[in-house]
Amino acid sequence: MREILVTGAAAVTALGRDLETTAARLAAGESAVAEVPASEAGERKGPAYAARIGSFTTEPEMPRAKARRLDRASQYAVVAVTRCVAEAGWTMAGNEEETGILLGTGSAGAGPLVDFERQMAVESPETASPFLFPYTVSNAPASVAAIELKIKGPNVTITQKDPAGLNALFYARFLLEDGRARAIVAGAVDEWNLTYHLSYERLGVLATATRAGYAMTEGCSVVFLETAESARARGALPWARLAGAASSGSPVSPQARRARPGDVAATLRAALGDAGVEPAAVGLVHASANGVPWVDAAEAAALADVFGTSPLPRVERVKLLAGENPCSGALQLALAARALRDDPSLGAVVVNSLGAGGNQIAAVFTAP
């Protein structure tokens, strides 16, 4: 089996336009979660919270004039992927066909889709914009980034509730092990959209001042995965090793946010087993915890079960500050690799991601 390393990462989040800023603000306990005000959403009962990026420029990575035709998610992806490739020191020229891109998403295309539907309904089907339609597909961000950077290896978008970013990593590992690429940019991208936000608000799943729940967020976070042979041959500095992963699903309704501690623990153990890492060797866990009390409690119980006999590792719950969506799971992958880069004595870092519909993926990184 090929050894796979992380040799770079990047993040565009509601806390910052890059990974270092995002990490520093998270370390300082800063939150991106804020009320969506009535000035935007209209008057309604108990307004909900979101972690939004707000004004955003693609410059210097892409000229503003060129970015104007792109949806928000594609803009985030272009910036994050460009920065990630640069961070890894990867030369694209001559390596285009050896480079892949895999992004997860839960929401890419939402903005163009709502706009296109509005044009068809309010104006007429004939006046709906042909320039908008291509960006309604979820694979637009990865493909726009691929076109921009000339990435010609595997190009995949995976839609899943929250664990989609980890799913991209999970599939990327097979592609790298099979020799389909030497390097893959893997992560997730999301776009916050007012229409969707208000709908979910009315469905009662989002956090409000009086109700526990999660806050949706947006952005794009990615890690640069590379075979060890490739990284060594070009003398790249490895941040972390992708040691193992596990993917599972509990058979529940697709919208159900439900988790049983036993199931969650079993998947965590499967990931550690796949990585050949003992629980005692884990120095940090990025938990899935996103503010849904019963799921967070189930995860906490599972962590206590898995790590209970060893000294408990540090547990970080960044989604409470950065918001929830597949892009947050991908941010945790980037933070996990960064943590091992800065402190290899952590040994191993686990990222856990639980989603509605019983989906769970866990990944294990170790010091390179």
């Binding site: 839960g106 089907p125 004939e126 190009n155 799913n167 097979f174 993917s247 058979p251």
Partner: protein, 406 residues
């Protein structure tokens, strides 16, 4: 990766030609068109008023309290999965099967969009009080994947590939990789996608829809016709399938997956990008061009796709391209978008099993730029040991899969 190999032990289909595998296949072999006037919404404002709709939704075998909550895509996906699982002969008593070793990987995209569109329209016309937000609950493309796992109690890995028109071909690749890597023994794979205003309106806005039924590879083709379908394949680790005495319909030999990095909506015109994907597939499947007997073409009938695809096949297969059949199921099923690769994979497996190649119908005038043997209008008996199925998508996401005789 290891030498675990992947076989197809179950097939299921729902399409405009019929609500099961037998009727869909019979329609394809008979060269019957599933294309007709749009009934699911008022199409009067659109340039193209035709689609390949599933005429009557099948019984997907779930209790009515669950049935009420399903989208059109879920219903056809569950019905095709039900048929495929029955076909596989798997013992679905999960006390005997390990549910953690059975995964679900589908291609999807439209999902419950038809309902969401109703919600968006109500929102615009009547404001929030006049619109029921529960109508968007089926909107996420991974709904059908989760529903299949829910209904049968599967606990293995799941994924939903959303790379537009190559989604479900890529899902086959992911599913096979899960088995080969030892992460699952059985994966329910393929895809389901149904009709909606957005996709029809979008391709109309791009002037990519033919006002007449689509005519792949014909000189006067004017674009695609949108269809809807579900094709489900049960992939299984070969040793396990043999031990339990399963009927093996075909082998999944491998796949190629690449990015054109050319344009969001246009294919790369020299054919080199598509050829690269075909070559990657041959490499993955350890095949030579001379091994290929049939190509189930992407064959959308857009002005740009068909000549570019013809060039790709010629570049990748060389002389062999002239000796084989290349037909487009889309001439009958329409372009089923995110489930196109799945329903066409199902048809490809049936072609290998029966030695009958479905035709490309509505074919009148040859196009010198599409000069392969496209099996015009009438099915043909042609022994097929190895077949490829091409899928090329918006964004330059290209996937080619290879199946071989059991």
């Amino acid at each position: 990766m290891s030498e675990r190999t992947v076989v197809v032990t179950g097939l299921g289909a729902v399409s405009s030609l019929g609500n099961d595998l037998a009727s869909t296949w019979a329609g394809l072999v008979a060269g019957r068109s599933g294309i007709g006037p749009i009934t699911l919404f008022d199409a009067s404002g659109f340039r193209t008023k035709l689609a390949a709709e599933v005429p009557q939704l099948p019984d997907c075998g779930v209790p009515s309290r669950l049935r009420r909550r399903l989208s059109r895509t879920d219903v056809i996906g569950l019905a095709a999965a039900r048929e495929a699982l029955a076909d596989s002969g798997l013992d679905l008593d999960l006390d005997r099967e390990d549910p953690g070793r059975i995964g679900v990987v589908l291609g999807g995209g439209v999902s419950g969009l038809l309902d969401s569109e109703g919600y968006f329209r109500d929102l615009l016309a009547k404001g929030p009080r006049g619109a029921r937000p529960t109508r968007i609950l089926n909107h996420p493309p991974d709904q059908t994947t989760d529903r299949i796992a829910e209904v049968w109690g599967f606990r293995g890995p799941r994924a939903t590939i959303t790379t537009a028109c190559s989604s479900s071909s890529t899902s086959l690749g992911y599913a096979a990789d899960l088995i080969r890597a030892g992460m699952a023994d059985v994966v329910v794979t393929g895809g389901a996608d149904s009709f909606a205003r957005l996709t029809h309106g979008g391709f109309n806005a791009l002037r990519a829809c033919d006002p007449e039924p689509c005519r792949p590879f014909d000189r006067n083709r004017k674009g695609l016709t949108i269809g809807e379908a579900s094709g489900i394949l049960v992939f299984e680790e070969e040793g396990r399938a043999r031990r339990r005495g399963a009927t093996i319909r075909a082998r999944f030999l491998g796949y190629g997956i690449t990015s054109d990095a050319h344009h969001m909506t246009q294919p790369e015109p020299s054919g080199e990008a598509g050829a690269r994907t075909i070559r990657a597939c041959l490499r993955s499947a350890r095949l030579n061009p001379g091994d290929v007997d049939y190509v189930n073409a992407h064959g959308t009938a857009t002005v740009q796709n068909d000549p570019a695809e013809t060039l790709s096949i010629k570049l990748a297969l060389g002389e062999r391209a002239r000796q084989i059949c290349v037909s487009s199921n889309k001439s009958m099923l329409g372009h089923c978008l995110c489930s196109a690769g799945a329903i066409e994979a199902v048809a490809t497996v049936r072609t290998i099993e029966t030695g009958v190649v479905p035709p490309t119908i509505h074919y009148v005038e040859p196009d010198p730029e599409c000069d392969l043997d496209v099996v015009p209008n009438t099915a043909r008996e042609h022994p097929v040991r190895v077949a490829l199925s091409n899928s090329f998508a918006f964004g330059g996401n290209s996937t080619v899969v290879a199946f071989g005789r059991a």
